[in-house]
């Protein structure tokens, strides 16, 4: 089953798929859509980072996390904290009782910046945090769970509960986090106004290129022996263990990678959308992120990107025209993917489109 998949993606095929995706993201979409729609697409693509991580951890490693929103949130909040500090210069906030701190802190009677905000004055630290914090957090969760062989359903439910806790905490500690409103009104990145249309174009391309780079990393991991080990673990975890591998370490690693990918997505989300809020880290968004990967095909790196794009696009279009139908459609999609298309778009592509394309491709090459 998976075998055929691994076979079919010979390096040549991979390169072609990669080039097609790059062409779509970097050429076709920017030409076809105005900046409003393109910015939306950029937003959808930030979820593709999460979906990529899920393909590695869930598709390959069999570790289903229902708490990827946590990591998306860590990345997003780290970026938002940096941007908020920049937007809260003493000149911009001179009407506050304590100028120079973010507005929501002022409303909550904070008179000085909390210590954990301080390092986020530095972009370097922020970028470091976007990689290090999710990895650290994933390591803690992963080490606690995988070392004790908690997996499958239990892992899914516990990560979900952690997502719930995070949401309550962020909302409850509003003086430090912005509460339910999130961190809003972000303006500039090192003096560069991120709200203008030209900035949005640039951010879209940065986002797409970063996504393509992430995709290459994901593909590398999948093709490495580590990728094969993950598949092997799903087949027979004990066999892997008794072949001399510390299974937990591999699971922790891939969970950390998935976490870092999600955090990257979150950071790009903040940059493109201009705010971050707890509504993106809770239970519902976390499960939606899983469906992006499932629709794309949870074994397919490329499927993850298309899945995130298509589901979000459908969501936008449907909710513009038929708001009542949206939940029916989304619910139906979940059920259909599980019952009828367990391999998602990638499966459909493989069984119907690829044979056709192969033919076409050959004939054009012959010319």
């Amino acid at each position: 089953m998976l075998q055929s998949k691994l076979r079919s993606l010979t390096p040549k095929n991979d390169v072609i798929s990669f080039l097609i995706l790059a062409a779509i993201l970097l050429v076709a979409l920017p030409l076809l859509f105005d900046i409003f729609r393109l910015n939306l697409i950029g937003k959808y693509l930030t979820f593709a980072f999460v979906a990529l991580g899920l393909v590695l951890s869930w598709g390959l490693g069999g570790i289903l996390s229902l708490g990827q929103g946590i990591f998306f949130g860590i990345g997003g909040y780290a970026m938002a904290m940096f941007l908020k500090l920049e937007a809260s210069s003493p000149e911009n906030t001179k009407i506050q009782s304590t100028p120079g701190i973010p507005d929501f802190m002022d409303w909550n009677q904070l008179t000085e910046l909390p210590w954990f905000w301080e390092p986020f004055h530095s972009l370097g630290f922020t970028i470091f945090a976007i990689f290090a914090l999710p990895a650290l957090f994933a390591y803690i969760i992963g080490a606690a769970m995988f070392k004790r062989r908690v997996g499958g359903v239990y892992f899914a439910i516990i990560t979900q509960a952690i997502a719930a806790i995070m949401t309550i905490l962020v909302i409850g500690q509003q003086g430090y986090t912005g509460g339910v409103n999130g961190i809003t009104d972000l303006r500039t990145l090192l003096g560069w106004d991120i709200r203008t249309d030209s900035a949005k174009y640039i951010l879209y391309f940065v986002n797409s290129i970063l996504l393509l780079a992430t995709l290459v990393v994901a593909q590398y991991i999948r093709k490495s022996k580590l990728g094969r080990l993950l598949v092997a673990m799903r087949d027979s975890e004990d066999r892997v263990r008794f072949s001399g591998y510390d299974v937990a370490n591999f699971k922790i690693f891939i969970f950390c990678v998935a976490g870092v990918f999600s955090a990257l997505g979150g950071a790009m989300f903040t940059l493109q959308v201009g705010f971050m809020s707890p509504s993106l880290i809770g239970i519902v968004p976390s499960i939606e992120m899983v469906i992006f990967a499932a629709v794309g095909g949870n074994l397919s790196i490329f499927g993850a990107v298309y899945g995130a794009l298509i589901v979000n696009w459908a969501k936008t279009i449907l909710s513009e025209s038929y708001p009542e139908l949206w939940l029916f459609a989304m619910g139906g999609l979940f059920i259909a993917v599980v019952l009828a298309f367990p391999k998602g778009l990638a499966g459909i592509y493989e069984s119907y489109v690829q044979p056709l394309l192969n033919k076409k491709f050959k004939s054009t090459q012959d010319k």
Partner: protein, 415 residues
């Protein structure tokens, strides 16, 4: 070409186009109406006989419960305005978008309405979070948002008209009333855990302490929490005279049912329960029998006895059914289109910059809540009222401030 680099450039091309197209039919339309180009210099979606506006609320998700009434009120106002001949001779067409109880979606849909649909105004948002998310979009693209909900204040945007009350308008008179009429001395503050209850309670606490009274407890529960037995026991222990509550949403249902079951009879007023967040809308879900005797402090109740309101209630029920009820926010949402109409007509233009100039000082004498006036800080002057809930789910108005209360979104001494 579909690509748009900036809204202003598009505006220019669009305007020229509109001028050309508009010239012929315009001559034949109402004499009172002016050329589309003259009343609209920024490329808004205005033709010679229509103008597009946006309605942006949650139809789906957890907030749909609360936002439905606002949508209905806005549609009613738009229909009534159209029946009277529209705005500057143009019928209002609305484009409705679903915010889906999801704050990024509010930002996204705001941008769609402003950039793609070029609407002249947007009536929408409900929670503070959705407004905070959408606000930068309105400021960037220079749109005009009419926001209906009572909220925590601490905000004043040139691109928003706040038709609900900000916190001080809702709170201060309520507490004064409890002190003067009911002799209250000890208050217990209870809220859902997010910004509006926390800010409201902060203002309430400052005011209570200024009056020389005492706050004996302050508690917050996560949104959607349904178990209040522990806090009810705490309340019994502290014996406050007033439970001052800002619990919202489904939690309210649980809170009042459990309060009643714990033997706290609201009609006995021991303690008295004063809420900022239960309107006629919420009572539908809680059940009137469970809030019999509750006091609410807000600016509007469905039972207000004036003629404006009687007419409004009748028309609302005619449009949306006999069973529909009207809460404070619903009425505030109804004001949005009327204030906008008045501002546009005073300016003689749909341009956002033009109505920004005319909005301060706009008065409505026909508002269901009575007379209202837009303050230069973009909030409304309005009265403070206390309602006393009855088992049938309506309120008796037991107190009304003599004068309009000035909106004060950045209250000195309360921050």
């Amino acid at each position: 070409m579909k690509k748009e680099i900036s809204s202003s450039r598009l505006g220019t091309t669009r305007r020229t186009l509109l001028k050309g197209l508009a010239a012929l039919p315009a001559a034949m339309v109402l004499a009172s109406s002016s050329y589309a180009a003259d009343v609209n210099t920024t490329g808004l979606a205005v033709t010679d006989d229509t103008v597009k506006v946006g309605i942006l609320h949650s139809i789906t998700g957890t907030m749909a419960i609360s936002e439905t009434g606002s949508v209905q009120a806005e549609k009613l106002a738009i229909q009534q305005i159209n029946d009277m001949g529209g705005v500057l001779g143009r019928k209002i067409e609305y484009i409705q978008e679903d915010g889906a109880s999801d704050w990024p979606t509010f930002a996204e849909k705001s941008k769609k309405l402003l950039v793609n649909d070029k609407v002249a105004a947007v009536f929408g948002c409900w929670t503070s979070a959705s407004r905070k998310a959408a606000l930068p979009v309105f400021e960037q693209y220079n749109g005009m948002l009419f926001y209906p909900t009572f909220y925590e204040g601490l905000e004043q945007s040139p691109n928003v008209i706040y038709t609900g009350q900000e916190a001080t308008q809702q709170i201060l008179k309520g507490i004064d009333w409890a002190k003067e009429t009911k002799g209250a001395k000890k208050f217990f503050l209870l809220g859902s855990d997010y910004i509006w209850p926390r800010t409201s309670n902060k203002i309430a606490r400052k005011h209570i302490e200024k009056l020389g009274l005492k706050v004996v407890g302050e508690e917050y529960y996560p949104l959607g929490h349904t178990q209040f037995n522990s806090v009810i026991n705490k309340i019994k222990l502290k014996k406050p005279d007033v439970i001052f509550t800002t619990v919202v949403g489904g939690s309210n249902v649980a809170f009042y049912k459990q309060l009643k079951a714990a033997g706290i009879d609201l009609t006995k007023e021991k303690p008295l329960v004063l809420t900022l967040s239960v309107t006629e809308d919420e009572i539908l879900g809680i059940g009137g029998e469970n809030v019999d005797g509750l006091y609410a402090s807000m600016k509007y109740f469905q039972s207000l006895p004036n003629d404006n309101n009687k007419k409004f209630v009748a028309e609302f029920k005619k449009m949306w059914g006999e069973k529909s009820v009207i809460g404070d926010v619903t009425q505030a949402a109804y004001l949005g289109p009327w204030i906008w109409k008045a501002a546009v007509e005073k300016a003689g233009s749909f341009d956002v910059d033009a109505i920004k100039k005319t909005l301060p000082g706009i008065e409505l004498t026909t508002a269901p809540e009575g007379y209202v006036k837009v303050h230069p800080n973009h909030h409304l002057w309005s009265k403070s009222r206390i309602g006393h809930a009855k088992a049938d789910g309506t309120f008796d108005v037991v107190y009304e401030s003599k004068d309009l209360i000035e909106p004060n979104p950045f209250p000195k001494g309360y921050q």
